[in-house]
């Protein structure tokens, strides 16, 4: 399983085509019929203000091990083939890519569930914090959303059934 996970925290941008090609693998591998990807992009406004970008802080010693652990958990829970979890840090302008997750599986539902699980848990468990940089020069830490903690919790309750 060693090279079936691609986990990374980086300041540099990423190329979705390259990540997808890695997820797909080549014909020498057993083929997973389903590949799901999610990419998050910096929005140009929130409910109140126009934004020029965001700044992402993280807990550097913890982030990568936590992403690897998350990928391994998803892989075993949803019987995924390959998994990518990649997050950028630092200052990102509007429209830049922030985060990518990808999951492959023989069946599409597992690939969709795996990718959603990765995103939901990433938003509840990985030590990353977003500060919005407003167009007028203001800065504001983003507050965690109840919606996101509920999204993460649904995987707790489903695991008990």
């Amino acid at each position: 399983m060693q090279d079936s996970v691609w986990a990374a925290v980086q300041t540099s941008d990423f190329d979705v085509g390259t990540l997808y090609t890695w997820l797909r693998g080549d014909s020498s591998c057993a083929t997973d019929g389903a590949i799901v990807t999610f990419t998050g992009v910096v929005r140009d406004s929130n409910a109140q203000a126009s934004l020029r970008g965001i700044e992402l802080e993280h807990y550097s010693e913890m982030t990568l091990p936590a992403l690897r652990q998350l990928a391994a958990t998803a892989q075993s829970r949803f019987s995924l083939g390959r998994v990518v979890v990649l997050h950028r840090i630092g200052v990102l302008a509007t429209h830049e890519q922030i985060v990518f997750v990808g999951a492959t599986s023989p069946h599409r539902q597992a690939a969709f569930d795996g990718a959603q699980f990765l995103m939901d848990r990433l938003k509840s468990d990985i030590p990353l914090w977003k500060k919005e940089l407003h167009s007028n020069g203001d800065e504001q830490w983003v507050m965690a959303k109840t919606r996101d903690s509920k999204a993460a919790q649904r995987w707790d309750s489903e695991s008990q059934t």
Binding site: M62, V99, K123, D125, P127
Partner: protein
């Protein structure tokens, strides 16, 4: 010795990256937090009820035991993704 770290909004409110504490028998994350809170005049700005905590780079609950050599991090609910 216990190394305590702060991140993000918490770090900014406290104007501190972290502090060191002497280890004491029977310490937990909660007692570390109580002890830290007394060190900062502006602690009441922190939403302490909702702080998350990691012990040695793993998320833990407040009843988790803490021993000498541990690194304890306190931070607001995470907002990546």
């Amino acid at each position: 010795m216990i190394q305590v770290l702060f991140f993000a909004h918490t770090r900014q409110l406290l104007k501190s990256d972290g502090v060191s504490l002497d280890a004491e028998p029977g310490m937990t994350v909660q007692t570390v937090l109580d002890s830290v809170s007394e060190r900062f005049d502006n602690w009441d700005l922190v939403d302490a009820d909702n702080l998350m905590c990691a012990r040695n780079h793993t998320l833990v609950t407040r009843d988790t035991a803490v021993i000498s050599g541990d690194t304890i991090a306190f931070f607001p609910p995470v907002t990546g993704g």
